[in-house]
């Protein structure tokens, strides 16, 4: 039995080598998405990046993707890309970390790019965006636009990336309205329009009148619009889902990064590294400011510019925990990158309890 399998595997390896040789003229770039490309949010925006590669590099590349890949069952899909001659593979969700590393070990000749990850290898880079910069901006807008003084947030999972986003949003809101209150509901899913909408409705029922979200579908925004309340788009400009109440959206712009990394593989200059881009590098963009008075718009634009130029950091010290204790300031004038990437506490003023 064992010998038979070894033999079969050897045959497969030979077929693989032969296949790779014939496809050498074009660089094959593969993508693994956690949701459907039609989520109009996270996965959709990565797919926009994929198309940008095709547009920029034309016939030098060929791209493919696998969508709705469950994180716990992703190793096979990633390996499927690696063994079909893809030399650069983007795995675009945190949960793909271990599977990506496992497959990368087996295919040292293939380059991997893992989004929002924390572990690298010689052929595995990581990249993420400082979405919390955008969240500080929308926090300020929310506080100015809210009549009830209660703003809402639909979170996916209480992981550091999401928690840091909630904190930045709240700190932004607090900076213009110290008595602002926030309510958070967890959808426990990245993409589940039904659950996301339910979470949003629960918030609206509790007096929330401005909705923010860290889940991938436009459902929370739509739920807000249906009741005439304001909201923010997530990952992509969702204005067509809420033309009357979307204030702005935090847009993930992977295009430049994806094109640059693909070029690097073509040139042979690709190296394993970690990229964390924000408003300054254009990886985070703000959709047009709409449905708000001019003075709020002006404030948002100024804050956006201040963060871009480095004058303002959403996590400038001092930062206080819920219990009032001060967080050690490891990054000089603001919290260090590691502190933001590993954030697992709410800042002072948030009354909810963080699920631990």
């Amino acid at each position: 039995m064992k010998r038979l399998f070894t033999h079969l595997l050897a045959t497969a390896a030979m077929a693989l080598v032969a296949g790779a040789a014939s496809a050498q003229d074009k660089l094959k770039v593969g993508f693994i998405y956690v949701g459907p490309v039609g989520d109009h949010g996270w996965s959709y925006q990565h797919d926009v990046g994929r198309k940008a590669i095709e547009k920029a590099l034309g016939d030098k590349v060929e791209t493919s993707y696998v969508e709705s890949v469950p994180e716990a069952d992703s190793e096979r899909a990633i390996e499927q890309l690696a063994r079909t001659g893809h030399k650069l593979i983007f795995t675009t969700s945190f949960g793909y970390m271990e599977p990506t590393l496992k497959v990368a070990k087996k295919y040292p000749g293939v380059k991997f790019e893992h989004a929002t990850g924390i572990k690298r290898a010689d052929n595995v880079s990581t990249y993420a965006a400082k979405f919390h910069e955008g969240r500080y901006v929308i926090g300020q807008i929310a506080a100015r636009m809210s009549k009830t003084g209660v703003i809402g947030y639909v979170g996916a999972y209480p992981i550091p990336e999401v928690v840091a986003g909630i904190n930045a949003y709240f700190l932004g809101a607090q900076s213009v309205r110290p008595d602002i209150k926030i309510k958070v509901v967890w959808a426990n899913s990245w993409y589940d329009p039904g659950k996301e909408a339910d979470a949003a409705k629960a918030l609206l029922d509790q007096g929330v009148d401005v909705m923010a979200q860290h889940t991938d579908s436009p459902a929370p925004l739509q739920a807000a619009e249906a009741r005439g309340h304001f909201g923010f788009g997530q990952a992509s400009d969702m204005i067509r889902f809420a033309p009357k109440t979307q204030l702005t959206a935090i847009v993930d712009n992977w295009n430049d990064y994806y094109v640059a990394r693909t070029k690097a593989v073509l040139d042979g200059t690709w190296k394993s590294e970690d990229t964390w881009g924000g408003l300054d590098s254009g990886m985070v963009k703000m959709a047009p400011y709409t449905n708000m008075p001019d003075d709020v718009k002006k404030m948002a634009e100024e804050t956006e510019e201040a963060i871009r130029s480095g004058k303002l950091n959403p996590f400038k010290c001092p930062v206080f925990r819920q219990d009032g204790s001060e967080v050690e300031c490891k990054g000089g004038a603001a919290l260090s990158d590691e502190q933001v990437l590993g954030m697992n506490f709410y800042v002072k003023g948030i009354e909810d309890k963080l699920p631990q």
Binding site: M1, K2, F5, T6, L8, L9, T11, A12, G30, P36, V37, S64, Y65, V66, E67, S68, V69, P70, E71, A72, D73, E75, R76, A77, E79, Q80, L81, R83, T84, F94, G95, E98, K106, I118, Y157, P158, I159, P160, N188, L341, G342, M343, N344, P355, Q356
Partner: protein, 364 residues
């Protein structure tokens, strides 16, 4: 005019044998029409979906890996379904099995604990699944509560317990606060059958489960009793078969196997606990159980076919850019065809003129 299903007095044995084959053919035909309507070549799709994976050792291996939890769970479910009991919560029993088994892995993490770790994990996983399935069994046997609702609702409870554990007490202290446990030690990981492959020992367990189920179902008094309970509950009662006892036993079997599948998946495939450890195996296994028509070998085959649709579906996304939804659509078509074919074997379809009332009048 209306359609009436009339039970056949003696369903043809040949028809019963051919039904799944014809159903499969019909499913492929319908799937081909859908693909053609999308403007792609059905033949190319057939090649990518079925022929290529079946002729590629890597894909075959992945198929077996993917089928393992499905077959293990479905075998257990077949006992329940045969007895006309509806355990819909295998997903929860899977999760609890994974949690219980993992306690050993986490307690011995970083120690030199030896060969007993893995057997203890498997045992605890099985017992955990059994215990979780015992709740709906008890409620059903004691209070007559619908086991469909209770078993299903316990899925969410199980998922939330796992969620709590990996965010709280079991969180990897070095994991940047991300919700996941430490990765299991070598001693807590199922050995692989080949070097560098993904075939783990759990596959053998699934095979053993199939064979044992076959023997128990077809060649023991217990198996006979199950069938009677399912097909003729009144007769079963008259013959003195205890219904609560049967309920407990079939739930223990199906919960135990689902729990085993859970710990096998964690110890063999994932290597750590995360908030989500199953892409819905417990629910997909219900389809597998019925695709296999509650027959152990049928289930083995159905599990492989279901795994094939996933793997072929991924290949089709990569090479033909066919969306994932097509895979789901095809799984639906497949189940529909198999159940439809079964119904046609058991029943005769008749077109009847007139209203039900008239028909009833005629019958009287």
């Amino acid at each position: 005019m209306r359609i009436e299903l009339q039970q056949r007095t003696a369903p043809s044995a040949i028809a019963r044998l051919l039904a799944p084959v014809l159903a499969l053919a019909a499913a492929f035909l319908l799937g081909g029409i859908v693909i053609a309507a999308m403007g792609r070549s059905p033949l190319a799709a057939l090649d990518v979906y079925v022929l290529q994976p079946l002729s590629d050792p890597w894909a075959l291996q992945e198929m077996v890996v993917k089928a393992t939890p499905l077959v293990l769970i479905a075998i257990g479910l077949s006992f329940c379904f045969r007895a006309n009991l509806w355990n819909i919560g295998a997903e929860g029993q899977f999760v609890v099995g994974a949690i219980c088994g993992s306690t050993v892995a986490l307690a011995t993490h970083g120690t030199a604990a030896g060969a007993w770790v893995l057997p203890a994990m498997l045992l605890l996983g099985t017992l955990g699944g059994m215990a979780w399935a015992g709740v709906p069994a008890f409620l059903r046997a004691r209070f007559g509560v619908s086991e469909i609702l209770t078993s299903l609702m316990l899925v969410y409870v199980a998922e939330l317990i796992l969620d709590y554990l990996v965010r709280g007490p079991w969180r990897d202290p070095k994991g940047f606060n991300f919700p996941q446990s430490v990765t299991f030690d070598e001693a807590a990981t199922l050995p692989f059958l080949t070097d560098g492959g993904r075939l783990h020992v759990g596959i053998l367990m699934a095979l053993v489960a199939v064979i044992v189920a076959f023997v128990v179902m077809g060649h023991t008094i217990f198996g006979y009793r199950l069938r009677v309970t399912g097909e003729a509950p009144r007769a079963a009662r008259f013959s003195g078969f205890s219904e609560p006892r049967t309920t407990f036993i079939v739930f223990a079997i199906s919960g135990g196997l689902a729990g085993l599948a859970g710990i096998v998946e964690v110890a063999g495939q994932i290597g750590q606990l995360k908030p989500s450890i199953s892409p819905g195996y417990g629910f997909t296994a219900i389809i597998v159980a019925f695709l296999g028509r509650l027959n152990p070998f049928g289930i083995l085959l159905a599990g492989l076919v279901m795994a094939l649709t996933f793997i072929g579906g991924e290949a089709a996304q990569i090479t033909l850019r066919l969306p994932f939804d097509l895979t789901r659509t095809f799984q639906g078509i497949l189940l529909f065809c198999v159940l439809g074919a079964d119904a046609l074997v058991t029943y005769r379809v008749r077109l009847v003129r007139g209203t039900p009332a008239q028909a009833a009048g005629r019958a009287a």
